[in-house]
Structure formats: structure tokens, C-alpha cells
Symmetry: D2
Subunit: 339 residues, 4 copies
């Protein structure tokens, strides 16, 4: 049983050897109200996070997961691959641990869709209780949730960039051309993440079926009309950072640009972690922040809208958003510990 005598909620990080999990452990460790509980890993059990990631300064040994010893925390951040997360989440939930799950396992509300794009779902019975963890859309539901499905990085940027249009029913046709730094591909060494493969290169991957597609469709569809979109990610020679370039054919081309801009201001002027920019949003402006930076442009020749959304894929795209969700789940100000 993991507890602490000072009344601060403890948060474990399961899968803390990966890029996202390790950053989550750092953010929990330096959080003013949470206490970092056990940190676990599989292949890297026995190593110190501070040896794998000296920049995080989390001087803790990674342990193999042992639910009897590790499931006594108030909350857990689960950073497992899809399919592998659900069984652990189920065990944690059975013991009353609040969970923010970084995998895709509880993001899609429709089991059939999940199983079409991923694998057979190990615990479909938990899907109904999961809340999609995009605070700018579901703040209240997250505050009352025990299980939060943290969004994918591409969906985070895409949904925030397009939500005002979706709500207004304005998205007629949609192409999302996404660009990501290499940390989005995870820590596992491979031919495609080798420095020499990425450096001085750019190309698309998982064309034409990337698994974040149905997640974006689900959330934009829930805000307005159902839609089917084209989503194409590209790998870029940079570390952290993700840009989505969204090409929107308006369902109502007569809408004035000012009207559209007003939709964005209405949606986001009160949001701490969304910035509206007049110049095309770039990823350098959001590096190591929980911020999504958005710019909206009208192509008068075609009538099309071009919307850019930039995030740090490891922060707002994953780990700091997990903390934002945890803050809400525990009644703290959502900005505690994430700037």
C-alpha cells in the first residue's frame, strides 16, 4: 500500500520509461499538491529515470509493476501501448484508483470502431465510464470522472483547431496535413527513428490510414455534423512539436471571415491554454508548454479556410494535458504544476 501522511494525493506513473511517461513523472514530482508514487517499467525495470532522462531530474528507480504494491495510490497515469493499457486500467479501477490513460483504449466510444482500427478491445465494459480528456471541451465531465482517456496528440491539435467550426456546422470537407517531431514516434529505437533516417528528410507515414483519424472524426462529429476526413501525418527532423494544417471547405461559403474569427474568439478567449495568433502558428512558440496555438486564414481565391494548430506533442499532446486532467479530477486549478 502506497500512501503518505501529509494528505497529498499520490499519483503513480505506470510505463514511466517512455518519453511521455517520464515527462509525466517529472511533472507529478514537481507538482505543488501531488506526490509522486511508484514509477514502473517493463524492459527498463531496475534503471533510474534520472539515468535514462537526466534532464527530468527524477531520481527514482523504475520497478516492475506489482499491483498489490503499486495500486494503492490515489491516482495513476497509465502510459502503456494500446491493448496493453486496458487490463491494467481495469485492475486499477477495480481498486478505486483514479486513472488517466494515455493510450487509445478508452478514447473511442464505439467498440466496433476501436476494433476496426486497433485490436479486440480487452475491456469494453469500461468505455462508458471514460471521459475524453480534452479539458477545453469536457471540463465539467473530467472534474467528475474516475477514468479519463487522454487524447492523442494529433487529435488534441486538430480538434482544438477545428472545434469552433464544427460546432457551427461549417465543416464541409476536410483535409488535415500533420507534421510531427520524432518524439511522437516513441522511444523505441528503429530504422525510422534513427537520426540518419530523419535528418535532412521529410516524408509521410501510415498513408492513408493513421489511427488518429477516427478519434478526430468522433470528436468533431460530436460537436456538429458527422464527417469523414483525410488525415496524413509527416515525420520531421525535430524533436518535440506538432503542427496540423487543416484545409476546410466550408459547408456555407457565404460566411464572412469576421464571423468565423468571432467563433474562435468566443470559444477561446477565456481559455488559458489556447492562443489565437494572427501569423501562421508555429511549433517553436509552444515548445515545452501546455498551449495550443491556433491561426485561421481565409483563401479568398478558393473560399477555403486554412487553420493551423501547433502543440508540443509530449506536453499538451500528452503529459501536461494528463496533469491538466488530474488537476480537474482532484479539484485543483487546472494550471497547477504545468505553467
Amino acid at each position: 500500500m502506497v500512501s503518505n501522511g501529509n494528505g497529498r494525493p499520490t499519483v503513480s506513473v505506470l510505463g514511466a520509461a517512455g518519453f511521455a511517461g517520464a515527462l509525466a513523472a517529472r511533472l507529478v514530482q514537481s507538482h505543488p499538491y501531488f506526490e509522486l508514487g511508484p514509477v514502473t517499467a517493463r524492459a527498463d525495470a531496475g534503471k533510474r529515470i534520472s539515468d535514462l532522462y537526466p534532464q527530468h531530474r527524477v531520481d527514482r528507480v523504475l520497478e516492475e509493476l506489482d499491483l498489490d504494491r503499486h495500486a494503492g495510490t490515489d491516482a495513476a497515469i497509465v502510459a502503456y501501448p494500446h491493448g496493453a493499457a486496458a487490463p491494467v486500467v481495469a485492475e486499477l479501477r477495480a481498486r478505486g484508483v483514479k486513472v488517466v490513460d494515455l493510450s487509445a483504449d478508452f478514447r473511442l466510444r464505439d467498440v466496433a470502431t476501436y476494433e476496426e482500427w486497433y485490436v479486440k478491445h480487452p475491456h469494453p465494459e469500461l468505455i462508458p465510464e471514460a471521459v475524453y480528456g480534452l479539458p477545453e471541451l469536457y471540463r465539467e465531465q473530467i472534474a467528475g470522472a474516475e477514468l479519463v482517456a487522454n487524447p492523442g496528440c494529433y487529435p488534441t491539435a486538430s480538434i482544438l483547431a477545428l472545434a469552433p467550426l464544427a460546432r457551427a456546422g461549417l465543416i464541409g470537407d476536410l483535409v488535415i496535413d500533420a507534421k510531427s517531431g520524432v518524439s511522437g514516434a516513441g522511444r523505441g529505437p528503429s530504422a525510422s527513428t534513427h537520426f540518419v533516417s530523419v535528418d535532412e528528410n521529410v516524408n509521410a507515414y501510415k498513408v492513408p490510414r493513421h489511427r488518429h483519424t477516427p478519434e478526430i472524426e468522433q470528436e468533431l462529429g460530436a460537436l456538429g455534423n458527422p464527417l469523414t476526413l483525410t488525415f496524413t501525418p509527416h515525420l520531421l527532423p525535430l524533436d518535440q512539436g506538432e503542427l496540423v494544417s487543416c484545409y476546410v471547405t466550408l459547408s456555407d461559403p457565404s460566411r464572412a471571415t469576421e464571423e468565423i474569427e468571432a467563433l474562435y474568439h468566443e470559444a477561446y478567449d477565456g481559455e488559458r491554454y489556447v492562443e489565437l495568433s494572427r501569423t501562421p502558428a508555429g511549433v517553436r512558440a509552444v515548445r515545452e508548454t501546455n498551449i495550443c496555438r491556433i491561426s485561421v486564414h481565409r483563401d479568398d481565391r478558393t473560399g477555403r479556410l486554412i487553420v493551423f494548430g501547433a502543440i508540443d506533442n509530449l506536453w499538451k499532446g500528452t503529459a501536461s494535458q494528463a496533469l491538466q486532467n488530474l488537476n480537474l479530477m482532484f479539484g485543483f486549478d487546472e494550471s497547477e504544476g504545468i505553467g
Copy 2:
């Protein structure tokens, strides 16, 4: 008067201090049949190319342009900014010098379109004699031309990527999301080309009106139906290389994928400098080559085609294509001196 006693055609490079001009000088210098004539520059006159670009090993002093001394070559490559090129081209043509012009001045056939996107045209009377220098489309015309307008880098990749579809009248709606290395921005130091601005960054520029748009529209329109497209370039943290990701809504969605692939093979199987790839084309595969690498993908969920075109913006996008054109203009095999 510049000449040589060995019967080899001499080629001057005007504007040889820039990235494209200096590379053109290197390619002419090492060409088996051409002889490098005068190399000129404005601000850098008096410097050696080998000091500015040691990698090119062109040990020649840049001179200020003096048409009386420099216009006696058989041909000239003019690497001037748009607007500044046309007057020099006119002088050279008046003296019988064959010209490959790297600027935009003679690419657009319609003066009004040029003047809408650029400046007042200094020599519209020369436009009719200019041939658009994309050998894969206009090989015969180039062979007989005295003035060739070398295509822009984005148009080169975009037109080659889409020509088979345009010819078949299949392009319904079109979005081109382009990504370029920094050499495309030219050699002039500026805030936007500073290493610190580009590194770990990606964002779009010249949204929503980049000047290569009408050039792409002109050429694709000439092959099939007129079209208006959205073109959005992004700056990436790499040196040379350009990728266009083209999203095509087919005018006839019933066409089978095999039929579309057949169009590409028919167009390009005999082309030395076009490669068809099954995996998404990336820029590393074409670095420092005259090759355009293309891949075609069908998004079955939306029916859309996704076509990628990758080039080296300084080679096939500019300087080696200029040599390919010169080879044709002088009756040499178009591959001489460019690999």
C-alpha cells in the same frame, strides 16, 4: 567577347553568388561539353565562388555584370530576382545569347496574371518566345527554344506529381501542402533564415497567397481543365529538399486505382528523372539529384487521391533542371553533366 577555341559552347552564370547560381556554375564547370564563361554578382563582386561555397570548388572570381564583356557567350543562365531578370534577359537575347532564366519573369504566359502576383512586367514582348522549361512536358519545344523559363521549385514538384491526373481531366478539387528546406528561401540572411528561427520549428509562410500558385494552375490547366487550387508552403529545419503533399478530389471518383496507376506508368516509365515509389516519397532519396520521386495513394474512405512529389529544390527544382534544359537546347543528351 567571350569565346573559346575548342568549339565547346560557353555558358555564363549571371547571379552566381546565390545558392542556385553557384550550383549552376559548378554544374557547368564540370559539364563534359560546356565551358564555364563569366560568373557575375552584385554585392559579392570581387569574391571567389570557392570562398563563398568551398563545397562547389569553382575557383572563379565573381565580376560585376558588364554586358559588353559578358554577353559574348553561347548561352547564359540568369539567376536574378523576378523583375530584375527580364531587362538582362532582353539584352542577352538582343545579342543572340540563348538564355535559361531562373526567375519567374517568363514563366507565366499571361501578362496580367504576372502583374497581379509580381510587378509590372519589364519586357512582356518576350513572353511569347519563352518556353516553360519542364522537359518532361515540353522536351521538343525546349530543344528549339532560345529562351527557356526555368520552372519554380514548387511548380516542378507539383506539376510532375499531378500531370497524369490533369491530362486525364481527373483533378476536381486540389489542395497542395508543401514543405521546403531553408535553401529555398535564398542566401540572404534574415530573421526567418537564422538557424535559431528554423531549428526545432515548423510553420507555414505566405498564407494564403504564394506566388507559385498561378504557375501551377497555368500548367495543370494547360494539360486539362482550368482549376483554382490552394497551395500552402511550410518551412522545415533542413537544408535542401522539397515535398509536395497533394490532396486530389477526383472529378470522376469511379476511376479504379489501377487505372490511375497506369496513367502514372504511362507518363513516367520512360522518364529518366521521374521515379515512381510504392512507399510515400521522401526528400532524402532525391538529395543532390535531378530526380522527382512520386508516390500515389488512394484514401478509400474519402475516395481522395494523395500524391507525394519529392525533389531537391536546388537541383531538379532549379540548377540541374537548368542544365537539363541547356542540354536540350544544344542538342546534347539531356542527362549530360547531371547524373
Copy 3:
């Protein structure tokens, strides 16, 4: 007169358009006890810092310096080029403003040395009152100082890496091979900071006389014996980060490695911003921190010591160290606002 009614000391940043000044403004703005006073610039007066550096989120307009209006703060960080800083510092000191000067103007205690390496010194009379702002060496003096000369980035890393050896009189012969990211070259666009010049490149610059040499000699000499060293900086394709690789021929080769390691632990185990690493120190571990990471290695074949020191040149190398100094000058904990 700039003041505030809440009793928090105001700090102006003069020269806040550069990389270091802008970061200093950000750190002052987010500091728990300081208040950001005027921010000034020359060429960029009238622009907002948030437009030049959106990542800093300092929404303030840069003003042209007007000492009558701007010299009423409690302190100033002066981020001017050498030679230009001293006259402004003199004015500020005459009005009682505490100054942290980021230039080289008050780092060298010997006027002749300054004038040999820089220019004629505009205000030599101020040199005696200046304290060299390396808190790990001069913490007490800084606490009592009104004028602090913030160290150069290379000297910060080099002196911290070698101080324990210098104090023990162990440095016989010394070569420092330094590697720096491009932000160290400043924000001014130039051929050498153009992305295309730096990318896929590495070479040395200012060989064999870089101006940080006498500063390192002064400080190491003050701790032990006078020395003359070779210092060679290299420019690397990265943004922030600086590594010094120090090759030390020991004056007493019989000293055991354990003894030497003990010197480092004695010097730094109590220092919050110095980390000792067993593996070779790298810059990624200190990015955007005030930390200097050091590792010490013995080459048994030659007897030589190899000491690595890694910092972020804009943070510990400049701006966060300026805040560390300001904290000491105002009696705050030296870590306030810098992590």
C-alpha cells in the same frame, strides 16, 4: 520615474530584443518578487517582445532608451554589446540603479587586458566596484555588490569545470575545446548564422584568439597559479547548449583520481546549480536550466584529466545566471524564479 506601489523591486532590461535580453525579460516577468520595468531596444523599438519571441509571452513594447524615464528602477539588466554597455552602466550607477551587466565591459579587472582584447575602455573607473558574477565563486561579494559583471558563457562553463583543480594548483597545461549552439552567436542575421551555413556542418571560429580566453585565465589564475591556455570554440548545428571539453595536464601527475574526485565533491556537493555526472556531461541534460553539469575522467595512458562542462548558454551562460545574481543582490534565495 518607474516605480510600483507594492514594494516589489523593479528591474528594467535594456537591450531586450536580443536572445539573452528577451529571455531575461521573461524571467523577470515571471519572477515571484521582481517586477518587470521598462524594456528597451534600438533597431526594434516599437515592436512587442511577444511578436519577436512568441515563446516568451512577454507582451510588452520595446522602447528606445530614455534614461530620464527608464533609470528609475531598482535594478537593470544591461544586454548591450561590449563597449556600448559601459556608458549606460555608468549613467545607471550614477542614479543609484543596481546593475547586472551582460557585456564584457566589467569582467576583466585589468584595463590593459580589456583594451588588448576589446576596445578602449569607456569607464575604467567603475571596474574596481564590479564583482564577477559567478555565484558559485563569489556569492558573498555579489550579495553586497551594486554592479555585477555577468560572466561570459564559455567562461561560466570552463571556470566551473576547472575551479576545483585550479584551487588545488593542479592545472599544469590546459586546452579547452568548446562547442556551442548558434544562439551564442546572437540574433543578428548573417552568413554564418544562416540555417544553411550551420546545418550539417561543424567548424571552429575565431581561431586562435577568442575574447573569452583572458576571462577564463583571469578567474582560474585568481584561484591558483597564473596560466596561459588554448581556447578554441566551434559552432554546432543546435540552438541552445554549450559544452567545454577541457584537457588538463596535471602539475602533479601523482595525484590519485579519487583525490581529484573528492575535490569536485567538496566544491560542488552543496551547490544547487552544479551537477556531477559519472558519464560524459551532455548539453541536452541542462537545456533551459541554470545548471552546469560536470564530469571528470582520467586518461590513464597519458595521465591527463578530461573534464566536461555543459550549460545552456542562454540560461546559466547568460540570462538565468543574471537572475541568480539579482536574487543575491536583493537578498532573495538565489533560486527564486529560475527553477
Copy 4:
């Protein structure tokens, strides 16, 4: 039996899936006089080189090594790890195949030294017949050799940078600080070659004992006096390119700088692949060439010489130098096929 009816010597590449082997295969394929024989690999047998490295355009299937079928070529380039190369080399030599071995197995003339730094030597009896393949030092011996030990990349740059000093007996004390791009670490994916580990980073590795140290000592010692040096390599965020910064304490400090420069001109003015530069040599100037670029600088304050040597580690550092050696072994001009 592999042969060809056109009288061109066939060259196999064993281990052609690695960076160096694949490049060697490309260079052999495009060579005017050699014919590319079998290309082999272990883990990647069955794949096409053109799928692994589309940029090389070697459309050949990698086979598992079968000496009965593959040892009938006129020559072989062996690109195996140290220890694994020697047995294959022995088999090839037994069948009369000329060999250029890229491993370390035959570089060190002293078996004990090899075994101290590497492993037990599998075929020490072959060492005496091997020639060290640095053409600028051993051109004649290479021309008559049947087994050439291709130098390591660091030794290539270091020895060329220092040979004129070694021959003159001028090297008193020596520190070599080396910087390499990531391709030098090989194609195997690992934590240290992951893009995210390398990007925005620089640090040293294999401190203080890198295996290229005795190779440099052997060759410089053979030219002049025996010496023991410090060699420290660093990994940099670039692909291809290697810079050695050599710090030389002269054994005779009274030698004039002009005299030293004369030594370099005497050694290299006639060498096609060595360039002397007045400004500090950088790696971009030699990318994808067989050239070593060298600059020599005198630090008047310490009397020390600073010599920079820049190469492309995959070209002059490995594959193109292998071709240079093969050209000599077969009586061709040493520049055939390598520019």
C-alpha cells in the same frame, strides 16, 4: 563462380546493408571499370538495397554469404564488424580474391595491441601481408597489395592532418578532440542513435579509451617518433561529417610558422584529395567527397599548433577511400569513380 565476359574486374561487397557497405556498392556500381558482383548481408538478406537506401539506386537483392558462390570475384570489399571480418577475409584470400577490409582487423601491425583494444585476433598470420590503406601515405604498397586494411574514419582525418608534423618529428604532446556525425555510429538502431537523443545535444563518448587511438599512434609513430596521445570523440547532431581538432605542443617550439606551413604544402600540394584551407576547415565543404580538408593555425600565446582535419566519414573515412584503394590495386587512376 562469379565472372563476366567483358573483362571488367568484378567486386563484391560483403556486408552491404550497412551505411558504408551500401555506399561502397553504389560506388562500385557506377564505377567506369569495375562491375558490381554479389552483395551480401546477414539480417537483411532478401531485401533490396534500393529499398533500404533509395538514394543509392542499387537495385540488387542482398544475399546471405555463400563463399562457394560469392568468392569468385576479382575483389571484395568486406564491411563486417571487427573480429567477424578476419575469418571471411582469410577465406577470400585463400581463394585469391583481392580484399579491401573496412574493419579494424588488419589495421594494427602488432597483434598484442589489437588484442588489448579489440578481441583475440582470429587470423594473425595475415597481418604481415596487409597494407594500411591510406593512399596519401602508402600509395605504392597499396598498388602491390592483395589485402588492404582500410583506415578508420578518425585515423584517416587525424593522420592526414598531422603527418607533415610527425614526419618532421615535431609532435611533442598531442590532444585530438574529434566530432562526428551520427552515421559514424552505424545503422543499428539504439538509444544513442535515436533522433531524440542526438538532436539538440552534444557529448563525448568512449572516454577515455576509443579504439581508434592505437591506430593513430601507430601511424604517426611510424612517420616520426613514438607518441601517446589523448583522443576524445564527440557525437554531433549531423549525418555525415567528421572534424578532428588537433592540439599539438611542438617538440621544437622555435620552428617558424612559415616553415610549418611549408611542410604541409610539400606534403599535399600534389595530392588530389587533400585541400589546404586558410580558414578553419569545416565538414560541409567535404560532404560526399573523398577530400580531406586541412587548416593549420598557430596560437602565438602558447606556441601550440591547432590543426583541423575535415572529412566525410562515410566517403574518405570509409567507402570512397576503399574505392581509391581498389583503383590503385587494379592499376586504375586512383580517382576513377570517386570524383
